[in-house]
Symmetry: C2
Subunit: 159 residues, 2 copies
């Protein structure tokens, strides 16, 4: 099962190092991490997604909760939430494949953000499955560069 861990943390030197060190010490690999500022200057939001943790995750999260830089920590996998990620993808094209590549972008509502002699770059947002789906369709055309943001998530409704 995939877990999406969302935490509010103090915006100061070493916080991400401290949190990721707990994962390292427990031998748990995460699939993605993202941390950026929130509307409050001194608070950042950290989102980590984890797959296949062999039951270690609860233990890891208990240790993370004990760090004094952590204000709030939720395992969103248990709650209703909207999750999204973004990816920037640079893919190859030729005169022959151009139309096909553009059609794939249209199906996935990917926005073109740049173009070279032999590559097009697009931006896509959506849940992980959508991003994976686009990548799978583009792979035969030659992905030159790919940058995913990692998942971010908001609870559904007013909460």
């Amino acid at each position: 099962m995939k877990h999406t861990i969302s935490a509010l943390v103090k915006n100061r030197v070493g916080v991400v190092a401290d949190v990721t060190d707990v994962f390292k010490r427990n031998g748990v690999n995460f699939k993605s991490i993202s941390c950026a500022e929130t509307e409050e200057f001194d608070v950042s939001r950290l989102v980590i997604t984890v797959e296949n943790h062999d039951g270690q995750l609860e233990n890891v999260l208990d240790q993370v909760r004990q760090l004094d830089s952590i204000a709030e920590l939720d395992d969103l996998s248990r709650k209703e939430f909207v999750d999204r990620e973004m990816a920037l993808i640079k893919v190859g094209f030729t005169r022959e494949t151009m139309t096909q590549v553009m059609q794939i972008f249209e199906v996935f509502r990917a926005n073109v953000i740049g173009m070279g002699q032999e590559t097009i770059s697009v931006e896509i947002t959506g849940d992980e499955d959508k991003v994976d789906g686009l990548i799978k369709m583009l792979r035969p055309h030659g992905i030159r560069s790919l940058c995913r943001t990692g998942v971010v998530a908001l609870k559904r409704g007013d909460e």
Copy 2:
């Protein structure tokens, strides 16, 4: 000056912990971090943005380059690149403010992804200034929750 550091790293336990630990030991705070898988299973892309580092950054990057989990590291601030981030924002509304809030979304091309009795959630992608701009416009309406992905970046052109 703002720096956008992009690295290809091995996808294994502890890599993000090792990199962020170098920043911590040197007392350098970063503005955002994101790390997720690339098109190759065993390689992840790590992007870190840094502001106001008091000249420490070169030193930090030299130490990061020496980690054996780092395959490639670029300071994209010196190159032509497209940078983007995504944010999910939950903002309050009333019957009176609804139209105004929706107009702000339209101006910034933010997509509504959810709605409750008294809040609307939107997704926005763009460069940091665009995301900051939307946040500034929405702040008077009451931002209930905000989650930014951190910046990701691709080099312009075919490279």
